[in-house]
Symmetry: C3
Subunit: 323 residues, 3 copies
C-alpha cells in the first residue's frame, strides 16, 4: 500500500521524513500521511495533517520504511537453464543464478546470494551469503566477497593491477614488461561497490576493502591498496597502487590519492582533492596538492583576487621608485 | 561507392567538408571529390578540383553525408533464439533483440529499437521507439528510455544511488545503513549516453536526462539529478546527487558538480572545473572551486609567477627595513 | 611448489626481489627462500638465509619468476557451445571462445587468442594472435587488435566518438545533430587496456593506440586520438578528441588533455594535470592549466601561504600610508 517520497514530492498515503532544517517549509506543506521526525521536531509540531513516527535518526527511520514498503523484487532460488556452472563449482540451493551467468570451476556462491543476468564468477572465486551481483558484474579468478556484499551493475573485482617493469630486449629495445598480478581482491562483509567501479587484484597478496565500506560508481582502486572499514569513496575517486586508507575515511567525488601513502582514520578529502603524501587521522584536506582544508580555503580566497594583489605590489613599487 | 573523410585524409571519390578556417591549406590540397562548404567559401573558390555542396552549416551537411554514405549495419527484426524474454515482457515485432539479451518481466521494447548482444532490460523497464542499446548496456528495473535514445556499450542506467545514513546497532556500533533507492531514471527523447557512463536511479522519485542531451563516456550522474534538455556532458564528468542542470548546459571533460546545487541555462564549465555553488545562467566557470572563467584566467596568470611576486614583496620589505 | 611474494610478505619456499633501497630492513628479515637482487646488492650480502638470483633488473627478474611460477589458467582451445559465431566469422582452431561470446559476421579471431565469457567481437572486427579479451570486453564493428593485446574485463574498444554539430530544424529549433562515427580503432601489438576503459572510434579514419602502450582502468580516449608507442596512461586519464601523444609519454592518474593538441615524446603529466596546449618532448607538467612541473611546484609553495603574503602587502601599505 503506502510508499515513500521526499517531503515535497509525497502525496496522500505516502511516508516521508524530516531531518534537514532547511526543509521546514516543505514539512509544513507536505501531502505525506506519515512523517518520520525526531523528538525535538515532534515537540514543536501542532495542527499538522500527518501522523508522526518519532525516531532519534529520522533519515535512518525513513530508510527502514523504504525497505519495508518497497521490498526488492525476489528472484526464485535456483539456476537459470542458460547459466553455465563449471565442474567443481558449488552453488547453494537457496542462491539465485540468473540467465547467462558464468560460474567458473571451484567457484562458490553462498546461501541466498543473487547473481543477476550476465554476471561472471571466475574460477575459484568465492561469493559469500546474502550477496547481490548486479547484471554484468565481474568477480575474477580466486577473488573473495564476504557476506551481504552488493555489487552494482558492471562492477569489476579483480582486474589485473597496473604493473609493468621497464625492461630491454636483447637488441637493446626497451619495453614495458608486464608484472603478472597473481594476488586477489578480498571484499569484507557489508561492502557495496558502485556501477562500473574497478578494484584491481594485488600483485602477489591481497587488495582489501574493509567491512562496511561503500564505494560509488566508476571508482578505481589500484592494486595492493587496503581500505579500512566504514570508509566512503564517492564517485570517480581514484586510488593509485598501495594506498592505505584507515577506518571511516571519506573521499569526495573525483578526488585521488597517489600510491604508497597512508590516510589516517576518519580523515576526509574534499571533492577533486589530490593526496600526494600521508594524511593524519582526523584531518580534512582539499586541493591539489591536498593540504589542510582550512588553510586551502583561505589560500583560495586570496587566489581569486591575485590580479588585485599584483596591482597593489606594483603600486607600492612605483611609490618606492622601483619596477 | 563514395564515402567520407577529413580534408587531409580524403582520397579521390570521397566527400569532405570545410568549416574551420585553420584548415585552409588542407582545403587547397585535398584529394576529396566533393567538399561541403558555406556560401562565403564557395564565393572565394576558383580553379579547384572538387565539386562543392553549399550549405549554411557545412559540418551538419557532412554529418548528413556520413549518414547517407555509411548506413549503420541493419540487424533483422526479431528475437535471437538465445535471448531470454520473461513472461509479460512486450517486444515490438519490428524490434531487434540480439544474442544473450535479457528482457525482464513486464519490460517493453518499442518499434524498430535495436537491443544488441548481451544488453539487459530490467523488470518493468521501458525502451521507446528507434532506440539503440549497445552491447552489454544495462537498463535497470522500471527505468524509462524515450524515443531515439542511444546507449553506447556498457552504459548503465538505473544503478542504485549512493545513499547511506550513519546509524547505530543496539550495541552502539556505527554503520552505514543503505537507503533503498526505489526511484527510477527517466531518459527523454533523442538522448545519447556514452560507453560505461552510469546514471543512478533516484531515491524515491526520478533522475532525469532531458531531451536532446548528450552524455559522453564514463560520466557519473548521481541520484535525483535533473539534467535539462540539450545539455552536453563531456567525458568523465561527475554530478553528485541532486544536481540541477538547466537547458543547454555544457560541462567540459572531468569537471564535476557538488550536489544540491543548480547550474543555470546555457552555463558552461571548463574541463576539470569543480562547481561548488550555484552557477548563474549563461556564466562560464573554471577552476576548483569554480569561479568566473575570465577571473580565473587572470588569477592563473599571476599564480604561475607567484615566486616572482613573493620576491618582489621581499625586496620591498628589505628596502623598508622589514622582514 | 614455489610461488612469489613481496619481501615482507614472503614465507619459506617463496621467491621475492629487492629493487628499492627503502626496503633494506625487509630484505634483512624476509622469510623468502630466493631473492632476485642486482650485482651491487649481491656483493654486500653475507650470512643471509636466502639464495640469490642476480640480475641487472631485479624487478624484471621477479616478473619473469611470477610468470613461471604462476602460469595463467589455460583454457582449452575451442568454442563453447553457448557462443554465437555469425556466418563468415573466422576463429582460429587454437583460439578459445568462452560461454556467451558473440563473434559477428566477418569477424576474425587469431591463433591462441582467448575470448572470455560474455565478450563481444563486432562485425568485421579483427582480434590478432595471442590476445586476451577479459569477461564482458567489447570490440565494436571493424575495430582491429594487433597481436598479444590484452583487454581487461569490460574494456570497450570502438564506442562512437562524441561528435555533434549544432543544427536547426526547419522551425528554427536547435538540436545537436549526431555526426556518424564511421572510422575505427586500431590497437597495435603488445598493448594492454584496463578494466572499463573506453577507446572511441574515429569519425572517419582511425583512433590509434601505439604498440607496447599500457592503458589503465577507466581511461577515456576520445575519437581521432593517436597514442604513440610505449606510452603509459594511468587510471582515469581522459584524452579529448584528436589528442596526439608521442612515444613513451606518461600521463598520471586522473590527468587529462584537451583535444586538438600534441604531447611530445617522453613528456610526462603529473596526476590530475590538465593539459590545455602542446607539451614539448621531454617536458614534465603539473597543475591545471598544466605548466612546467618545476615552475608549478614553486608556485604551489607560495600558494599555500597566500594569506601570509597578503598580510605582508597590507603591512607594507600601512607603513606607506596606503590601503
Amino acid at each position: 500500500m503506502g510508499s515513500c517520497a521526499a517531503l515535497n514530492e509525497a502525496s496522500v498515503g505516502q511516508v516521508s521524513f524530516f531531518a534537514d532544517h532547511r526543509q521546514e517549509s516543505a514539512l509544513e506543506s507536505t501531502m505525506a500521511s506519515v512523517v518520520v521526525v525526531d523528538e525535538a521536531t515532534e515537540a514543536k509540531l501542532s495542527g499538522v495533517r500527518f501522523a508522526r513516527l518519532v525516531r532519534d535518526n529520522p533519515a535512518a527511520g525513513f530508510a527502514i520504511a523504504l525497505d519495508a514498503l518497497h521490498p526488492e523484487s525476489e528472484e526464485p532460488a535456483g539456476v537459470h537453464p542458460s547459466a553455465v556452472l563449471e565442474d567443481g563449482s558449488v552453488v547453494h540451493e537457496s542462491a539465485s543464478i540468473g540467465p547467462f551467468v558464468y560460474v567458473g570451476p571451484k567457484a562458490r556462491v553462498g546461501a541466498r546470494s543473487r547473481v543477476m543476468a550476465g554476471a561472471y564468477v571466475g574460477p575459484g572465486a568465492v561469493i559469500g551469503e546474502d550477496c547481490v551481483m548486479g547484471p554484468r558484474a565481474v568477480v575474477m579468478e580466486r577473488c573473495v566477497l564476504g557476506n551481504r556484499v552488493r555489487l552494482q551493475p558492471a562492477a569489476v573485482i579483480g582486474s589485473d593491477g597496473f604493473g609493468y617493469v621497464l625492461d630491454k630486449l636483447e637488441d637493446g629495445t626497451t619495453f614495458h614488461r608486464k608484472v603478472p598480478q597473481v594476488g586477489i581482491v578480498r571484499i569484507e562483509d557489508d561492502v557495496e561497490i558502485g556501477a562500473g567501479a574497478c578494484i584491481d587484484r594485488a600483485t602477489t597478496h591481497e587488495t582489501i576493502v574493509g567491512s562496511g565500506s561503500k564505494i560509488d560508481n566508476l571508482v578505481q582502486v589500484g592494486h595492493n591498496s587496503v581500505i579500512g572499514p566504514l570508509s566512503i569513496l564517492c564517485g570517480q575517486v581514484g586510488l593509485a597502487g598501495s594506498t592505505k586508507l584507515g577506518r571511516g575515511v571519506v573521499m569526495g567525488g573525483q578526488s585521488g590519492a597517489a600510491g604508497h601513502l597512508a590516510v589516517g582514520d576518519g580523515a576526509k578529502a574534499a571533492a577533486q582533492a589530490g593526496i600526494t603524501e600521508d594524511v593524519p587521522a582526523g584531518e580534512t584536506v582539499s586541493g591539489m596538492p591536498a593540504i589542510s582544508r582550512v588553510k586551502w580555503l583561505r589560500a583560495v580566497l586570496v587566489f581569486k583576487d591575485l590580479p588585485a594583489l599584483l596591482k597593489r605590489v606594483r603600486r607600492i613599487e612605483k611609490k618606492l621608485g622601483e619596477g
